[in-house]
Structure formats: C-alpha cells, structure tokens
Symmetry: C2
Subunit: 376 residues, 2 copies
C-alpha cells in the first residue's frame, strides 16, 4: 500500500470515521482504522461492532495533489495515534506499507513508523442485499431526528425505547421517541412506496446528525432486517437495529383538550429555564404551571433547602376551561420547547391522568407529550 | 439588608468570588457567599478556608443605576444557586432580606426567595496587621507566575514543593517552582526595601493569574507569617502560606556547559510536540535529542506498541562539544518552551548527571532546569 494525500483531507477523514471507534473496546483491532488503497480511491473504515462508519476519498483528476495512489493494499492502525500524528503534520503526507502490518508516514522531513494489525481480521461492514432503499432530503431527515432524538430512554430496562422508531408508509415518514414519561414525534413526506418500521439506536442517529459531509441535497437509507445504512456523498454509516416491538403510541395522544393555551415560546422557555434552577435541586425537576384568571400563566418551583422562584407571563389566548394547575418535569418541557422552532406554542391539557400535548402553531409536523408529575 | 444592583455587575462579582468556593466542602456555610451591604458599598466574600476572595462594589455617584443601597445588613446564600439565579435574570435586581437569613430577589416580574445561613458564622478573612506590603506592576507579577507556576509538584510527598517560592531581597523579586525533576525560575525588579521569602499554594497564584479586574497598573502584596494577600482594584485574594523550608536551588544551576545549542524555539516546540505523541504512550514521556555532526538536532521517540517518530532540525549555532545524546521528559520540555516567549532558545548540556538548562536569548529573566531521564 502506498499513497500521497493532503493532510487536511486525510485528517478530516480520520476524524469522520473515528466517531465509530470506542475508547473502551477490549478488542485491539476495533481500536483501529482500516485503510484500504484501491486503484482510484482510498477507504477508511472504523467500527465498534454496533456502529460502522466508512469514508471514501476518490482520486480526482482535476486535483491530483489531493490524493495520488501508488500501490493498492490495506492496513489497520490505531485510530487514536493515527489521528494525533496526522493532526500535527502539514502539507502532503506520503504513506506506505513497510514490513508486515507496519506503515511509514513521511511529511516535511518528519518520519513516523506506526505498528498496525492484520487488516484481514477487521470486521467487514454489513452486507445490504435485499435492502429497501429510500432517498430523502438530508435537511428533512436532520430536522426529524433533532425533534425526537433527545426523548429516547436513557435506561436499558426496555431496550427498544433507547432508540428512535422510524416508520414509512404511503410516503409518510415519521420518527418517534419516548421514555414512557414523555414522547416526541416528528414527520415528513418521502417520495417512496416502501413500507418500513425499525428502531435505530441513539448513537447512530446522533452521529448522522453531525455529518458535515452534506448540507443539503438527498441522502439514502438502506434498511434490512438487522441493519440500517445511511449514505451521504462520501460517508456511509451502518448501524445494527434494535430488536423488539415498538409500542403503539397512537392511543396515547389525547383526543380532546379541556384547556388549550397559546403561549409565546421564547418567554415560556426562559421561564421554565429559570424555574428549573430550584426544581433541579428537588427530585423530578417539578415545576408548577398555574393559569390565573384565564389571562396569565404562573410558573414556579421550590426546593425546601434553597428557596423558591416564581414568575407570571401573559397568555396569548386560551380555549376551554380557565382553571388549570399542573406539575411537570422542567427538563422534559425544556427539551420539547427547544425542539420547536416557531414563535408560538400550543399547550393542551386533558386532565390530570392524561399527558400534556405541546405543539407548534404550524401544520402539526411534530408534537410532544409530557406526563404530569403526580404530587402528593 | 436591601439594595438594587445591575445584573451584569452583580453576576460578574459572584463569579469572581465563587472561584474560592469548593464544590466538595463538608461545611454548609463554606458553600455560600457572604453578602454585606454597607452605607456606600456592598462586599461579597467566599472562602474554602485556604483561599478567600473578597470583591467590593462601591456606590458610584455618577452611575447610581449600578448600585443603590437602601438598608445595610448581611446574609450568606448558596454560591451555586445565587450564581445560577442571577445569570438568568436581567436589568436591575432588587434584593432584600426577608425573615431570618432569607432574601428575596425581584427583577422584571420574576420573584425568587432564597434560603440563607447566618452570616455571623461565616469565617472572616485573615487579619493583616504587621504585614509587609509590596507594590508591583501586575503584568510583571503575572509574567513571573506564568513562567513558573506549571513546574510545581503535583504530589503531596513534600508539601513545600506544591507551591511557588516568592522571594524579595534588595529589590529583586523572584518566583521559583520545582517538582525535583524540573525547575522553573523567573525574576523581576520591585521598588521595595522589604525582604520576603514565602511559599504560596498553586491554587492562589492560579486564581491571581485569572483576575480580570486589572490589565495593567500596580497590585499590592501583603505578607504575614501565615498569610499572603493580593490586592487588585476591587478584588482581594487571601491565601494561607505553605509552611516549611524551600530548598536552596542556587546549587542546582550548572556553572559550565559542555555544549550549548541555540535553536529556533517554535520549530523545537513543534518537534517536541510531535515526538510527544509516541512518547506519551511510554512511561516518562521519553524523548531522545541527538546532535548530528554539530549541525542538526534529531528529535525522536518510540513506543514498542504503537511505533516511532523522528525528525531532524537545523541548529542555529553550537558552542562546545559537538557530540550530544540526551533523553528528556517531553512534557517538561513542552512546559518550559511554552513559558519562553522569545524566538530563539538556548539549551545547555553539562553532563548526563546534570540538569539541562533552557534559557531565552534575552537578559536571563527566566530559566528552566530539566533533569535528563536515565535510560537503561
């Protein structure tokens, strides 16, 4: 294996795939990056066995200084050390295989030899035969992930809730996440006749949302029974799916509201943020919301140890009963409000045993459910 | 106690004194800030019993909107919660004592009540009767601290080495720090007839170097047998001194060099930085420096597990023997090189049992000693 590559491009590529390398891996080969040089491209591959990231850098005729391949071949070297060495070099880097599983890097009079591992032992990425493939705008996908990802369960008690449920039917694509105390739902339309239902781990979607390889345009999803692949222009991200049946969330959505408040989103967010100060000192981040005379919303919280905080905000409009007192988890409210981009937000209350419904004022592309906290 | 203060000023003051609050304190009163309102100023005080910081905000006739005092008094409230609450408010904040040890904060329709503690129990700052006081330019002091502070010992085996030795005699002020494997020394002149020798804890000097209260002009030092105080325009920092005799370091400085190299500092720093990559994988961060034919310096390091890195740099000039091979701790070299602002650096070698001497090319306002690492 031998090639010459520009430092900036190589460093970015190493960073891109290193996201799949776990620092805690017990298997030495998984702490490495597999570098493969072909006739017309190099490929970098890294995996933690659940998540695999591949980056391809093609030889480009117009820009021969970017990448020049001299001999094909492959090697596995420590992701951490390769990244650190490349970061401290500059200009063109000449990389070649020497001895068995060893590479030499030469750049501006600096020479580094790095010990590697046998590339035969590196696990290949999942094979995507018989996969359903879906093409969709990256920005749509990113929006739906951003509006739901935060709501997954952090606990392993029900593994299926630690991921986001992706669903596609009749061209309607949706993402759902819940930890059984709050739920986030977001949807969009996709030009596809496929039907899909799968649960994708938090980590995979989190990495997808950080991909800088694309800013607009389409990405592709390939879905098999056990795997999903996200394909961007030069990066492909493979993830194992979470097994198990995702709960049917349709029945949780309250059909009729007793009270619906329209509120200024930014003001509400700031108020919840302030009230969360003392709420976080107590368990459950309890914040009390109270409608005053149908005109104002009082937001307050208290901690026996530190004190209490309260503020009153004007309500934009109110529909239904004008009496309402409800206690919610301040963190759940903040997460939902951060996901909503619009200026106004609708908060619907359907009774103390039903979740609060939080929606933007728009077409209903997303909604959030938050269970009230029972107070003694 | 009752006063009205501008949010920005109060928030900055809380941040300034909060540096002295330890998050791990077992004594509830020490997790608080003591606020005292007088006729013409408010004072904030925080301490972790070793380090105490006091900030004074005077009432200023020209800018009555900054601070307005209605009633004097004092209270102690949680530094963490006070800081968080004030951060989320804006504009004018009206603060008043209500009930016993409780305060109310009012700002733009937001009301917070905070529980406090009895201010009588808050430890007062050290009394500085019979102290020696020294006035010196803040920038000089900051430079000397920066050039030595990093070199203190991180181990508690010899407590006196965990601090910086300040010495003043015949108008010559100096800072010395060592962990017995490397030493940093920096000096300046001060217009004072006092004689001083004391050891100041790392934490106190670290906080001093972060003070934003002053950018040039003079600061004052007050030194007693057990305490030192650093006085800036509105902040005073009190620290307990470290007891014990600081070692005499004069004898450690090699008198005659076998070889003295003049090197480009930036290039050397970059080379040491690169070589440190593999050095840090081994114990002791061992980096080998080797003079080649009296013209070039080879910098290399290796780790049996990951590989090796080597580079060759031109020597600006060489005096003495042209054969030199020495192994040093890469971290110690980096620290010393970072402390040197000049473009060129002199490295003197006096034998394998003597420390390397690193100096800027200037008047000898600072020097660094680094013991060679014995290799098997």
């Amino acid at each position: 294996m031998e090639f010459i590559i520009e430092q900036g491009i190589f460093h970015q590529a190493i960073q891109d795939v290193s996201r799949a390398v776990s620092s805690k891996t017990l298997s030495p080969i998984l702490s490495g990056i597999k570098i493969t040089a072909d006739k017309d491209k190099i490929a970098l591959l890294a995996t933690n066995s659940d998540l695999t990231i591949e980056k391809v850098i093609p030889v480009c005729c117009q820009q021969s200084h970017r990448l020049q391949i001299i001999h094909s071949g492959s090697v596995v070297v420590s992701a951490r050390y390769l990244g650190q060495v490349i970061k401290k070099l500059s200009g063109e880097i000449h990389i070649k295989g020497i001895a068995l599983n060893k590479i030499k890097l030469i750049s501006n009079g600096i020479e580094a030899n790095m010990n590697g591992l046998d590339s035969i032992e590196f696990p290949p990425p999942p094979i995507l035969d018989d996969s359903k493939d879906i093409s969709m705008p990256f920005l749509d996908f990113k929006r739906m992930v951003k509006q739901t990802l935060f709501a997954v369960s952090k606990s392993d008690t029900r593994p299926v809730l630690t991921g986001v449920h992706l669903s596609l039917e009749n061209g309607r694509f949706s993402c759902t996440a819940t930890n059984s105390h709050r739920l986030a739902f977001s949807r969009g339309t996709v030009d596809s006749k496929e039907t899909v239902s799968c649960v994708v781990p938090f980590a995979a979607l989190n990495e997808c949302s950080k991909v800088t390889d694309i800013d607009h345009g389409n990405m592709k999803l390939y879905i098999t029974k056990q795997y999903i692949a996200f394909q961007f222009p030069s990066i492909t991200l493979f993830s194992r799916l979470i097994e198990g049946n995702y709960p049917n969330v349709e029945s949780l959505i309250p059909k009729e509201a007793r009270t619906t408040l329209t509120l200024n989103k930014e003001l509400l967010k700031q108020g919840i943020d302030r009230a969360s100060l003392f709420a976080s000192a107590s368990d459950n981040n309890k914040i009390l919301l109270e409608v005053i005379e149908g005109l104002q919303l009082k937001i307050c919280s208290s901690s026996t140890e530190y004190g209490e905080i309260a503020e009153v905000q004007d309500i934009v409009s109110l529909n239904g009963e004008s009496e309402l007192t409800v206690t919610v988890d301040g963190n759940f409210m903040m997460d939902a409000l951060k996901a909503i981009g619009e200026d106004e937000v609708q908060l619907s209350y359907s009774g103390s045993m039903k979740p609060l419904l939080l929606q933007a004022m728009d077409s209903g592309m997303q909604f959030h459910l938050i269970s009230p906290v029972r107070t003694a």
